[in-house]
């Protein structure tokens, strides 16, 4: 009854351990045999290998993920679906999620990044939502070799090539460089969508005999085993292992997106569930829909649209061909759905139906080729892995690094040229940030802001994390990633309302890596609760290693904020000469893990500087209420490079200058103490502003228009020409990429 073709027989699979290279361990294989009460055939072994991969099952990260705080009054949908959903009033909701495409991008950076954008957008519109923005968080090695330059250019071009063509603006993100990412770059993409709450759809296969409808591109042999591929580490030898690459087709995706949103609007009653075909393609989407609904599915693989001849069930089920969706359509409504998709020039085919026996059953050529309990398939064994604090943390020096500054001007210009600090405009200008004509704040300010047409509301969004901080202290670094994201949102005048994440780590079987994962999630979680920003979606990317060396722990935080009134949207740039400049928050010696430590010593080390969560919350609340009260003309959060960099960035926007005096040493201008902002205030509002802020804000000086940065510290007075500083900052990436 169970057909096996010329593929290895069940006994051959067992004896030759064919499952091992697919990522199933001996014990897991044994468990499969137990659950089936027989040996799995080739197709079934493939299904289990994919569904039980870390990428699909989170079997190793789940104990940690379960701890995420993900419920509050706004949460309509938490983790577990294509994307999370938050209530933003007026029957509207915001939908967002982040996804990593690190491994594909290391192998084929253009298509890897492009299909990353395509995949995350499908997660958004599979909820019935209209995507309104994309953000990208990227990590590369130092820009000192051709390979890294190639990766940067291609990843940027890939994001642009997909996002621009499909017509969703790429409004924000971040790019940082460190040698830890040289062999394993990070490409994380976040997408945000807007939803009428009535149109909300989830990926569930409910209702016996309802139809499973396949929509979009045909299935080919591309990307087979992408899920297991994402769950393995890179090494030099494996550079030629490159089967899991797909070519993106944004044109088809645009049609699929528009049609999917249209069908939810036109036939809300007839669309029972929607799920995109992402990692592990057809098997993962259909098995997850079945098991979430407690149902079974019965698919006839002969009906799956195929791009290539003679595809086997194994290939059909595991292909990761892009631009495909799976819908569950109410029985009897199939032809309505099919003709709607045809209007958009799309092929759609009923390939099976929902059953009530809980079985995942596949037919091919008139024979049954897989028959598995859907719950078994989607329930991988869970692992509680050991966690051990890395040695470097135990031995870290307590003292803070002391920067050496002989010539403030020279240090100042030098830090502005550091790749991580320098302007990324020459890269993000490749992204269409304006299409859809809703982008109020484009890339270049702390958070991007996208208005919600027809309302006074707007959404702020940002992605943040500093892997160096987490490397020195994963818990506090996790808190800081959250704190910085929230500061960015607040600086734009919005209230932070929720986050998504991409947890980028090394091999979790290494107890030190697992410790980093657990601790950083704990840090993120602590701040998520403090900020009332639930974790509503996310993604885990493990095995980010090159030649057995793990990347810095890099849990990217993607945060969304809500503007109730688009008239109080704030940007980071100084607006006019004569405005008073204040710093909010206290500056202390915070140098371990800082940009200046990296710049002056070539590395980072020591114990991470302290973080005061309470000061963070207080300062954020004060700045937000001051913005909303109209007391402020610009607000900028301080992060890498400290006051020195923050002041310069605020001035560059309109090519203004400043004249400030601080009771700090030259070195402290580069301190990265958290919880700080620079704000500018019109003289007419100074008294009210000072009364509002109390001791949290100190006057530093004022905005000038004489083309000069004038800085007086306890070490003396220094003047720097704005255009010299600007050129250093603006052109540095271009020079490095030459």
């Amino acid at each position: 009854m169970i057909h096996t073709y010329t593929e290895p027989t069940p006994t051959e699979i067992r004896d030759q351990k064919i499952y091992l290279p697919w990522g199933l361990t001996d014990a897991e294989y044994e468990l499969v045999c137990q659950k089936l009460d027989r040996l799995p055939n080739y197709t079934e072994t493939g299904l289990f290998a994919a569904m039980w991969s870390e990428h699909c099952s989170y079997k190793k990260s789940k104990p940690v993920l379960r701890t995420f705080w993900s419920k509050n009054e706004r949460v309509l949908q938490g983790p577990g679906e294509g994307a999370g959903i938050l209530d933003i009033g007026d029957n509207q909701a915001v939908v967002f999620k982040a996804e990593s495409h690190n491994h594909p991008s290391a192998v084929e950076p253009y298509e890897g990044a492009a299909t990353g954008v395509g995949g995350i957008l499908r997660d958004i519109f599979s909820m019935g939502a209209q995507p309104i923005a994309v953000l990208d968080s990227l990590r590369f090695g130092e820009i000192d070799n051709e390979r890294t330059k190639y990766l940067i250019n291609e990843v940027i071009a890939g994001i642009a090539g997909y996002g621009n063509a499909i017509g969703i603006p790429t409004v924000g993100g971040e790019i940082a460089f460190d040698k830890t990412y040289a062999g394993n770059p990070l490409v994380n993409v976040m997408a945000v969508g807007l939803l009428d709450q009535d149109a909300m759809k989830v990926g569930q296969a409910k209702g016996v005999d309802n139809a499973i409808l396949y929509v979009g591109a045909k299935t080919g042999r591309d990307g087979i085993h992408g899920a297991t591929f994402a769950s393995a580490a890179f090494s030099d030898e494996e550079e030629s292992d490159r089967s899991a690459v797909q070519v993106g087709d944004p044109f088809t995706e645009k049609l699929v997106m528009d049609a999917t949103i249209a069908i939810v609007k036109r036939y809300p009653e007839d669309v029972i569930g929607i799920q995109d075909m992402g990692a592990a393609g057809l098997v993962s989407s259909s098995a997850e829909m079945a098991s979430k609904a407690g149902m079974g599915v019965h698919l006839n693989l002969d009906l799956v649209p195929q791009r290539e001849a003679n595809m086997t069930p194994y290939e059909l089920m595991l292909s990761e061909s892009q631009e495909r969706m799976l819908l569950v359509i109410k029985k009897g409504s199939e032809s309505k759905a099919i003709s709607l998709f045809a209007e958009y020039g799309l092929e759609s085919v009923v390939i099976g139906k929902v059953t009530d026996d809980g079985m995942y059953r596949l037919d091919f050529n008139g024979e049954i080729v897989a028959q598995i309990d859907a719950q078994d398939l989607t329930t991988a064994p869970k692992y509680n892995l050991p966690a051990v604090a890395p040695k470097r943390l135990q031995n870290a020096a307590k003292e803070q690094f002391v920067p050496k500054i002989d010539d403030l001007k020279q240090t100042y210009l030098q830090i502005l040229q550091q790749a991580t600090i320098a302007s990324k405009a020459s890269l993000y200008r490749h992204f269409d940030s304006m299409v859809q004509t809703n982008t109020v704040v484009r890339p270049g300010s702390d958070a991007a802001v996208v208005r919600i047409r027809g309302t006074k509301k707007a959404l702020a969004m940002t992605t943040d994390v500093n892997g160096r901080y987490l490397y020195l202290d994963p818990f506090v670094g996790g808190q800081m990633a959250m704190a910085e994201a929230a500061r960015n949102i607040v600086a734009s005048g919005a209230l932070p309302i929720g986050i998504t994440d991409c947890l980028n780590f090394g091999n979790p079987d290494n107890p030190e890596v697992y410790y980093e994962l657990a601790q950083s999630v704990a840090g993120i979680n602590q701040m998520a609760q403090a900020l009332n920003t639930p974790v509503i979606s996310g993604n885990v990317s493990l095995y980010n290693e090159y030649n057995d060396e793990a990347i810095y722990p890099t849990p990217m935080v993607g945060m969304v904020g809500l503007h109730a009134d688009n008239q109080t949207i704030m940007t980071q740039g100084f607006k006019q000469a004569g405005d008073a400049i204040y710093v909010v928050g206290t500056t202390t010696a915070a140098f371990n893990g800082s940009e200046i430590q990296k710049m002056q010593t070539g590395t980072i080390n020591g114990q991470l500087f302290a973080f005061d969560a309470e000061a963070e919350l207080t300062n954020q609340q004060l700045v937000l209420s001051a913005i909303q009260a109209g007391l402020i003309t610009s607000a900028h959060d301080l992060s890498e490079g400290g006051l020195a960099v923050g002041l310069a960035e605020a001035a560059f926007d309109q090519h203004l200058g400043f004249d400030v005096a601080v009771n700090l040493s030259d070195a402290l201008l580069f301190s990265e103490t958290q919880s700080r902002f620079i704000v500018s205030v019109n003289p007419a509002h100074q008294a009210a502003f000072e009364a509002h802020m109390g001791t949290a804000a100190q006057l530093m000086g004022q905005v000038t228009d004489n083309g000069t940065f004038k800085l007086t510290t306890t070490d003396g007075t220094t003047e720097i020409l704005e255009n010299e500083a600007y050129t250093s900052w603006k052109e540095a990436i271009g020079w490095l990429l030459k």
Binding site: V107, E108, Y110, E111, A217, G220, R221, D222, R242, S243, V245, Q246, V247, D249, F251, T252, R307, E308, S321, Q322
Partner: protein
């Protein structure tokens, strides 16, 4: 001097969205006999190599390194000696 003509196409298992789109367009324009369209890249590269063998070596080397992505694409080439 040598002239290398290099043809780059996707591997057969890789989706060729450009070729598909051109095929659809031709079929809509009522060129009824179009069975299949592959759209690739075409390079004409002039090299000042000393002899055909070293020119071929060079072409193979840079085609693999730069012109194609070996994960997705294949190439073939022809080389001819040219004057000037």
């Amino acid at each position: 001097m040598f002239l290398a003509k290099i043809y780059v196409t996707y591997k057969p298992s890789i989706l060729d969205p450009k070729g598909e789109t051109v095929k659809d367009a031709l079929q809509r324009m009522e060129y009824t006999g179009i069975e299949d369209v592959v759209m690739g890249k075409y390079f004409e590269i002039k090299l000042s190599s000393s002899d055909a063998t070293s020119a071929a070596k060079e072409v193979e080397s840079f085609s693999e390194k730069l012109l194609i992505n070996v994960n997705m694409e294949v190439f073939r080439y022809e080389i001819e000696a040219i004057t000037e």
